[in-house]
Amino acid sequence: MHAFSYHKPSTLGDALSLVAKQSEGKILAGGQSLVQAMKLRLASPTDLIDLSGIKDLAGIKVEGSSVTIGAMTRHADVENNADVKKMIPALARLAGGIGDRQVRHMGTIGGSVANSDPAACYPAAVLGLGATIVTNKRKIAADDFFKGLFETALETGELITAVTFPTVKRAGYIKFKNPASRFALVGVFVAETSGGVRVAVTGAASCVFRATAIEKALTAKFDPDAVPADTIKADTLNADLHGSAEYRAHLITVMAKRAVTQAVGK
């Protein structure tokens, strides 16, 4: 690891002015990806601006039928939050399945969403539930947020402050883990919302995406057997040692079925 300066601002304003000053700096929002990259000398920021001192950024609030999760809320706090468990149980389960216990007590929803790792779980929930990403500047719909491999709609100097999830009729998330890394080789989030079914797939491609053909079939009939096979073309998917594109395409169907099974509580 290269040497760096560490900052721990206590207000969002201080954080933003530090971000503006340190062009080679990085935001530390849990550090479960960034610190690993720094240890391997793949990332060498001059400054780390740790958001964990900003109290307003952590916490879970219920407003009407939506749940707003502060950007610095740890996965373990989402996993164990009574409101989340009651209102969007699939989200609590998803959070409880990220990484391991240590990761879940350090990693944050804002950090995960901003990183847009192609194999991360949270983007599937954000896109699958049609959440809204709240930043210091604006509100961004999930459908407009994830742009590609480690790429989002966030602009320079823009920080995620919270993610707002609408409650849905029912939802499920199943991931098939990469045997080595335990990241999602394929993860499918299925949600039955008032506006139809949303299906988000993570792990399979360079960025989380919606499986529209499966959504259509499930909107007609929300049942595991309604999930159509072979709707995702393999040539759009990732291939690596643990999963060819063909295997991933197949797993999307299988995981979608299992996510629906979970959602309907069979």
């Binding site: 391997l40 098939f176 080595a180 040692l241 295997y247 197949h250 299988v254």
Partner: protein
């Protein structure tokens, strides 16, 4: 007198320090004036070194020295075992330099070393060493190494061939095949593994100008062997000027047996800069620098009569030794492999030919089991397949062929002293509830799952080895062990052993043996190992040899302690020596109530006021060297039951039953721990682990835990383990060794279970590791073939 300690579940004496963070590993050793080394390694699989410019690195802050192969002109790292090929020629031994000499031959090959005041400074400067590589085409795959036009690694080894070696009577074997009613044939790959000890390798070399001596702290399984090889073959130093200390070592599995380049470099460099030099391997660095394991490609044929009685076995194996010959690389796919191909069976003739090839990969050497897992995999896979083809129950075909009378001379050199293979097999069948399997299979099928059951009846040759036999087979060292028992005046005891403990629990097991025989509380016995300045000599720990060879050496030293104690006791009690009876710490005059304890005798030996000084030296300290007369032959039967999800290809191990015969057992708890660990490594090989190189670039694809699948707790079931005992006939403790068994037997049992489950698709083989993708793809291919 204490309750007997041999056979007791004594909690491990060493665990307090390990569990409370008080262990002292090589990286914990920081010497006055400590400096830090970082190695510059080749990013290419095969390249010439056109030039190395170290000027920028030398100017970097804190840098003390940068050395390359130009600076370090010493002997190559030696190979400790000479294999003679089928034409009577010695194997090809290309120079294995500590720092590359003009060429690099695998990703990770060490090119230069940067030494600085701090580790960060050394890391920064390592990035400033400018190496101009002339990239060459590479070959990494075992079966392509000898292909026409394959890139050549070493001038002295045409066709990348180290040796072609054979064992067994080929003509007799061919004759047996000509009479066979049926021949079963399998093509098998034993996948390459990366060891992954929890403590990465580390070395800290220190030179003392005062007496021109060196001390090397190193994460090693055998400090004396390390010293011998480094001084005699590489650095040309007198042995008495080098002390090697292997303090607490966090696992080895074979990978810390060898003399590595880094150990040589830090020792040598400590004199060049007159400061101690420490190197601790990074985890990602260990993937490309620790010796790998396995990597065989094999064709096996088994000839049978109409009743499934084995008539002969033919085996042809290509073994990948990597870019250079590591310390014991040459004997693993030969002496430790082909001699085990009889397994537990009476197969009368066996012929095996082994071709060892060089490739642009990390050197391959012994890894937990070393040759014996490969042999068991070949034998037990082909036997299970033979049962299928002969429509025999897999247990029944084994029973028909079991060796039942001992000693038994196999057709591949070994002489098994004892065993009871039926006992372990029938116990395993009962424990695994094989009778209930059909019902469990039905239940799985109802859920859309496939269930399979597989066996493996393994044998291993442990307690390595009788030195004269090893020498005749090419070993360049003896394979005895040394032990020393030092009674202290006030009755406690320190024991010095040449065996090395790096997780095995010797500090407890050996102490149990000593405390039991001397009638001492176990707290009064300490085991010291891992330091050439304290211990007489040692050949170290590998091949499940510690209790059988190292334990026996201690036992022999105890014999001498007791013999001398009898003389002292006789004097103290004014009796004839022949009238002294000894039992666990108490010397008695036969037929009387007169007695002296070992503590009293020891006190008399060191405070010899009333002592036969005219006939006997004072003191009570004895040592012994022990060279075994035969290998030991642990054996057992494993039964594995799996459930496969055909939709995803995921294999779940539902049950794993292991019944082993390790001879007498000193500490059943430690033995169970060894079996659990071995099984997990074996399951790791079959289901999860697999080293992969990119065939084009020669890059290591599985270079981190993101891609290399280490087994985790939730990958394995709760094991059912038990033992049966036939005592070893040629060592006084009747022990055989247990460290490697699980890793030897598990892969075949698991793959036999998986192929059993996949019989519905007519699948008889699939490669290890049977990852979800591999299982799924194999099923898809079989379905397509069926449809076509």
């Amino acid at each position: 007198m204490n309750a007997p300690l041999i056979g007791a579940r004594i909690e491990r004496k060493e665990d307090y320090r390990f569990l409370t963070g008080a262990g002292q590993y090589t990286d914990d050793v920081t010497l006055p004036g400590q400096t830090h080394a970082v190695f510059v390694r080749s990013p290419h699989a095969h390249a010439t070194l056109k030039s190395i410019d170290k000027s920028k690195a030398l100017k970097a802050p804190g840098v003390l020295a940068v050395f390359t192969g130009e600076d370090l002109k010493v002997g190559g790292l030696p190979c400790g075992w000479l294999i003679t090929d089928v034409n009577g020629q010695p194997m090809k031994e290309p120079v294995h330099p500590s720092l590359a000499q003009g060429k690099v031959r695998h990703v990770g090959d060490q090119v230069a070393v940067v030494i600085a005041e701090t580790l960060d400074q050394a890391q920064d400067a390592a990035g400033l060493v400018e190496v101009d590589y002339g990239v060459l085409p590479s070959v990494t795959s075992t079966d392509k190494a000898r292909a026409k036009g394959a890139p050549q690694l070493h001038e002295i080894a045409p066709d990348n061939t180290c040796y072609v070696w054979a064992i067994g009577d080929k003509a007799a074997c061919d004759a047996a095949f000509s009479k066979a009613a049926h021949v079963t044939k399998l093509d098998l790959v034993n996948n390459r593994l990366i060891p992954n000890a929890i403590e990465p390798r580390a070395a800290n070399g220190m030179y003392s100008r005062a007496d021109d001596s060196y001390t090397l702290y190193v994460a090693s399984q055998n400090p004396h062997v390390e010293r011998l090889l480094m001084t005699a073959f590489v650095l040309g130093l007198p042995e008495h000027k080098v002390r090697v200390v292997a303090p607490d070592v966090g696992g080895g599995f074979g990978s810390k047996i060898y003399l590595y380049a880094e150990d040589v470099v830090v020792t040598w460099a400590s004199k060049q800069i007159n400061r101690p030099v420490k190197w601790t391997c990074e985890r990602s660095e260990s993937f490309v620098s620790d010796a790998h394991g396995r990597d065989h490609v094999t064709t096996v044929e088994l000839a049978m009569d109409k009743d499934g009685k084995f008539l002969g076995m033919r085996v042809k194996t290509t073994a990948n030794v990597g870019a250079y010959l590591s310390t014991f690389a040459s004997c693993v796919p030969t002496i430790l492999y082909a001699t085990l191909l009889a397994g537990q069976y009476t197969t009368p003739v066996i012929h095996c030919e082994v071709t060892a090839v060089f490739t642009n990969t990390v050197p391959v050497d012994a890894y937990r089991g070393a040759g014996r897992p490969e042999a068991t995999y070949v034998v037990e896979r082909v036997v299970e397949q033979a049962a299928r083809e002969m429509k025999l129950d897999p247990a029944e075909i084994r029973r028909r062929n079991f060796i039942k009378t001992f000693p038994y001379q196999t057709p591949v050199a070994l002489m098994y002293d004892t065993g009871d293979y039926e006992a372990t097999l029938s116990a395993a069948i009962k424990m695994a509830d094989v009778a209930g399997f059909p019902a469990r299979r039905k239940a799985s099928e109802a859920k859309g799952k496939l269930r399979g059951l597989g066996y493996a009846a393994y044998i291993e040759a442990c307690g390595i080895a009788p030195s004269n036999i090893a020498g005749a087979l090419g070993a360049r060292a003896g394979l005895f062990e040394a032990g020393e028992v030092r009674m202290h005046p006030t009755g406690s005891c320190t024991v010095f052993t040449g065996s090395h403990s790096h997780g095995q629990g010797h500090e407890t097991t050996f102490a149990q043996v000593v405390a039991d025989r001397l009638g001492l509380p176990i707290e009064s016995v300490d085991i010291v190992h891992g330091d050439t300045s304290k211990i007489l000599f040692g050949m170290g720990t590998y091949g499940s040899r510690s209790i059988a060879v190292g334990g026996t050496a201690i036992y022999k030293a105890l014999d001498k302690i007791i013999a001398k104690g009898k003389k002292i006791a006789a004097h103290l009690m004014e009796a004839a020596e022949t009238d002294i009876e000894y039992d666990r710490g108490v010397f008695k005059v036969a037929g009387t109530d007169k007695q002296k304890t070992i503590g009293e005798v020891s006190f008399a030996a060191y405070v010899p006021h009333n002592y036969p000084l005219d006939k006997l030296e004072p003191g009570l300290n004895e040592n012994a060297f022990y060279d075994p007369t035969n290998f030991t032959f642990p054996a057992g039967s494993y039964v594995c039951e799996v459930e496969i999800d055909p939709d995803t290809g995921v294999t779940k191990i539902e049950k794993f039953t292991a019944v082993d015969d390790f001879g007498n057992i000193i500490n059943p708890m430690i033995v169970e721990g060894q079996v659990h660990g071995g099984l997990t490594q074996g399951i790791g090989q079959a289901l999860l682990e697999g080293c992969k190189y990119d065939p084009e670039s020669g890059q290591l694809i599985t270079g981190s835990y993101m891609d290399y699948t280490m087994p985790r707790a939730d990958d394995v079931p709760n094991y059912q383990v038990d033992t049966r005992v036939t005592a070893c006939t040629h060592n006084p403790l009747g022990v055989k060794g247990c460290g490697e068994a699980g890793a030897i037997g598990a892969p075949a049992a698991l793959m036999n279970a998986i192929t059993d489950a996949l019989q519905v698709y007519g699948i008889n083989d699939l490669p290890m590791p049977a990852s979800p993708q591999t299982v799924w793809k194999t099923i898809q291919n079989a379905k397509q073939k069926k449809a076509a």
